[in-house]
Amino acid sequence: MANILNWIIFIPLIGAAVVLIAPAKQAKSIAWLTTFLVFIISCLTFGPFLDGSYQAGDYGTMQFESKLPWIQVGGTAAADGSRVGGFNINWHVGLDGLSFPLMILTTLITWLSAWASWNFEHWNVNKGPKGFFALFLILETGVLGTFAALDFFLFYIFWEVMLLPMYFLIGVWGGPRKEYAAIKFFIYTLAGSVLMLIALLAMYFASADAMGGKGTFNLIEYATIPAITEMFNSPTLTFLGWNFGKAMFVMLFIGFMIKVPLFPFHTWLPDAHVEAPTPISMILAGVLLKLGAYGFLRVCYPLFPEAGAQLAWLVATLGVINIIYGAFCCLAQTDFKRLVAYSSISHMGYVVLGCAIMTDVGFQGAMFQMLAHGISSPMCFFLVGVIYDRAHHRDLNRFGGLWLAMPKYGSMATLGFFASLGLPALCGFIGEIWVLLGTFNAPFAWAKTAAVISAFGVVLTAGYILWMIQRVYLGKLREEYAHYPDATARETAILFPMAVLAIFLGILPKYTFNLMNGTIDDMMVFLNPIVTKAVAASSIVMGG
């Protein structure tokens, strides 16, 4: 446990226990302190990532790695303690360019949302803050653990650990249709997990076959040990009559795409967002959606690159549908929060498109878009929350001229929504343009079409955001909103870090790219040849 990463994962859990023991009045301060502490400690891990020195030239080089045997039973023991024909499950965590930026994002957004939940009206009613903050902190452990896990089994455990807290957070402290939203979220996500569980078993047994009975759940070994990669991507190995790699890729992909969420499994998201309390929406949009896309990058593509290249057209199509469909849905919304929720769907479409094309620019764009969206969407949800606290409704058409009543809040809001819109010099722009450029240059035959259609999404985005700003913040100030107090010190303090980051990422994207480029470059070493091969194969088919 001397490892700093282990502490980062478990401090929230300790905080949860403290919240449960301490008096209810102290709960919110303890949660604030815990999340802040985790944020500060996680910032200590910046070291190797800042200057790019963490890049070692081969995929799977980890920083702050910790590996301890956990479940090693069954079968017979090999010389190194691992089991042949039994279980080899390790506590194995570490950080690289994929997980590190998302971990920092998680600790930051969780801290801000802990702060954002300070003024809950529920605290005055009968729903105590103890349970809320305890669940909140358990959720943080789950998320951080999922990002850090390098053992697929551990990944799965943490992935599931997130479910229960989220279910109760939405179900107890949510809006009028909270129970429906909570169970919908639960069932959708569990459906994905179930597929992941099947894939988990299948991959374990395949790796055992490849390694002479010594199965492994190690995600890095899955991607780097030649015997295993050959087995996983073998054209002859089948699973229930399907090509093994493709079947696994599809099952894992469905598991992750539900979390992203990707059309047609996206319908839980608007419900969950609308019913969830503001801080939970912030976490959901800012962090939880990223887990799905992180799953693509950590599990799907490095492990099953052949299947990924062959199914790129399908993934890209889904991404493009998300972009366009999400944006159109936004245009139709009258509920402020639902609009922001659908905009998340649209924005996550870019991430998926970036993943689909499997090039370095695509992956960089996807990662950057995740971070940008991880900053802008919690900001938007918080902005909606601020106004909901005052107005107690979210009907876009009943607002107007809020900027006049609340100048400080109005400027922050404009910044936040412009960041989401993808205005140049703000964070959203870089991610989108990177993905679009990457797609345009991708080797696939359909890539240019996809890029052109997706670029149209930018126009739609501008459309719904500007229209929304016009309806809510501009125009004549309505009588009933004139007396609204401007953003309080706490609200400003929560918005401020996100606003600063939105600008910083937009103006100096280089520093953010530096955090992740090393690992992406390492991945490209083995992904590029496969993509080239797949493209060549498909062009032969098309030419012939």
Binding site: F87, G131, I157, E179, A182, L197, I198
Partner: protein
């Protein structure tokens, strides 16, 4: 022939060693006697009776634990003709341990119920002597069920377990539902045991033996399955399927669970099903013992797999609309029996070459699952019972707002419920994972898929209970619950969390140990095979006899350690051949 076995073969009288082999079961017998004597000596005092029963369960459990903790040493079949009438290996010792520990917990529950201030009509303190005689009698029967591979013994054990169960189900005499439940149970039970005995008689008539292993060997020699074999085996298995409450023999389960007192429901939900599953494992593993490729038994495998899939699907789907907590948990127990039945479908894996010290995957999966199931199911019933004692209602509405009315109970219940779903980091997930792993290893992919999707379905109704407790608060007053009950629920929840996280490996290692060296055994002193046997021509064995040359010749068991069943077969065969 070795002297030790010769003596055994020729004498009907069991030796002291044999009696020692039954070991822990003496605990139950002694408790029965003690309770009767105490009733004569001090009269009908429920406290004394309860104490004695608890003490008896504890002593039995301790004796079983000693057997479990020490390697198998010294058993021999109690029989005139060498067929293993009574099996004492790690698995059966585990079952006695399970049953006695569970009985101890159920007695604790009963005790709390007596103190909960229910009307006499419901608690029936005065009849505690009869109650415990019946309870312990059924425990004895259940322990016997997993300790035998002889048709007659099986029938006896099943009846021994069933008859007291009928009576304790109807024990709340003035309670209309209890009487109805008891009647349904006994009618259903009578019909299924009639079919079972019919099946047993057919088997005996056809194969001229009561020994399942012998029957299995003949099946192997016969090659293709005959209609008679199919019919008689099926009829025989009906009685066992009834105990397990496998679909379509599950109809008694919800009614009985609803009508019986909650302690009795708890008892039946785990112990009775566990015993049925253990028996099923025994029957099939012995029938297929040493058969590497059981083509003739493929039908049986498929039948059990289909039954397992149906059982868990029907159980889960039927639970959806239940509003009585006991009925809901009854259907949940049917579903869980279905998951465990899946492991029965792979029981012949590794049967072809059982190796010393290697765990049998199906037995191991079931031991792991049932150990966790015991704890989480007991916990869930305990919470329901405590709510019932406080409110007098078993409806799901009685759970409303439990998070406010008794936060500790509600949190524990959430742990139990989602462990029943099979969600990490609870023990229910690890148990299910080990089961799925075994299924996958046996290439039963379809069963894995059925199991995981059932997990998904089951989420809905378990979450419904969680929803009632946490989301729907209709302002019922806070409840007072006994401290002991809270402590017990907390311990159960901690065990569930422990087996799901740090203790996951321990769980697997524990269940693997219980599944090793099945039927084995034999103390080092007795040489079970001789040079003459090793020199037997292999041609004798090629026709699918239960043993093969390899087992008696190449396995280095100079110290006399041997697969007991196989050894026994050698002897009985020699008897037949007139050697």
């Amino acid at each position: 022939m070795p002297t030790g076995l010769l003596i055994l073969a020729d004498m009907w009288m069991p030796s002291a060693d044999d009696l020692a082999a039954i070991g822990p079961l003496w605990g139950f017998v002694g408790t029965l006697v003690a309770i009767l004597v105490a009733a004569l000596a001090v009269g009908r005092n429920w406290r004394v009776t309860g104490m004695l029963a608890a003490l008896g369960a504890a002593v039995t459990g301790w004796m079983a634990l000693r057997t479990v903790m020490s390697p198998p040493t010294n058993w021999a079949g109690l029989s005139p003709n060498n067929s293993p009438m009574f099996v004492a290996d790690q698995f059966s010792a585990f079952f006695v341990l399970l049953v006695s520990v569970f009985m101890l917990l159920v007695i604790g529950m009963w005790w709390m119920g007596q103190n909960a201030g229910l009307p006499e009509r419901l608690s029936r303190k005065g009849d505690s002597v009869e109650f415990f005689i019946l309870l312990i009698g059924s425990a004895f029967g259940m322990s016997m069920m997993v300790s035998t591979t002889n048709l007659l013994m099986i029938v006896l054990a099943v009846e021994m377990a069933s008859l007291p169960s009928y009576a304790i189900t109807a024990f709340r005499k003035q309670h209309a539902k209890a009487a109805e439940a008891g009647l349904k149970y006994v009618l259903f039970g009578a019909v299924t045991s009639a079919i079972m005995i019919y099946g047993a008689s057919l088997l005996y008539g056809h194969y001229h033996t009561l020994d399942l292993a012998e029957i299995g060997r003949t099946i192997r020699i016969e090659g293709a399955p005959t209609l008679l074999m199919g019919v008689s085996l099926f009829a025989f298995m009906v009685g066992v399927a009834f105990k397990v409450s496998a679909v379509p023999f599950h109809f008694w389960c919800p009614d009985v669970f609803e009508g019986a007192a909650i302690e009795v429901t708890t008892w039946l939900s785990v112990a009775s099903k566990a015993a049925g599953l253990g028996l099923m494992l025994r029957i099939i593993s012995v029938l297929t013992f040493k058969i590497a490729s059981p083509e003739t038994l493929n039908t049986l495998a498929t039948a059990i797999a289909v039954m397992a899939a149906l059982t868990c699907t029907v159980g889960n789907l039927s639970a959806f609309r239940q509003t009585n907590m006991k009925r809901l948990l009854a259907f949940s127990s049917i579903a869980h029996a279905g998951y465990m039945l899946m492991a029965v479908a792979i029981v012949w894996m590794n049967n072809g070459s059982p190796t010393e010290g290697v765990a049998h995957p199906a037995f191991s999966a079931i031991v792991g699952y049932i150990s966790v199931y015991l704890v989480m199911n007991l916990g869930a019933f305990l919470v329901v019972a405590m709510v019932y004692w406080a409110t007098g209602s078993e409806s799901i509405d009685a759970m409303n707002g439990l998070m406010r009315r008794s936060p500790l109970l509600a949190v524990m219940m959430v742990v139990f419920l989602f462990s029943l779903v099979g969600l990490p980091p609870m023990g229910g997930f690890m148990a299910k994972l080990y089961l799925l792993y075994a299924l996958w290893d046996a290439t039963w992919y379809s069963l894995v898929i059925v199991a995981v999707f059932n997990t998904l379905i089951s989420l809905y109704y378990y979450a419904r209970v969680a929803r009632a407790m946490v989301f729907s608060d209709d302002g019922q007053p806070a409840i007072r619950v006994p401290m002991v009950g809270q402590a017990l629920a907390t311990v159960c929840a901690l065990v569930v969390l422990y087996t799901g996280t740090v203790g996951a490996g321990t769980l697997k290692a524990f269940s693997d140990d219980r599944a090793k060296d099945l039927y084995a055994v034999v103390k080092p002193g007795i040489a079970v095979h001789t040079a003459a046997e090793s020199a037997r021509p292999d041609s004798v064995n090629e026709n699918g006899t239960l043993w093969n040359g390899q087992n008696s010749t190449t396995v280095p068991n100079n110290d006399g350690w041997h697969i007991g069943l196989a050894a026994r077969k050698v002897d009985s065969d020699r008897n037949k051949n007139g050697e």
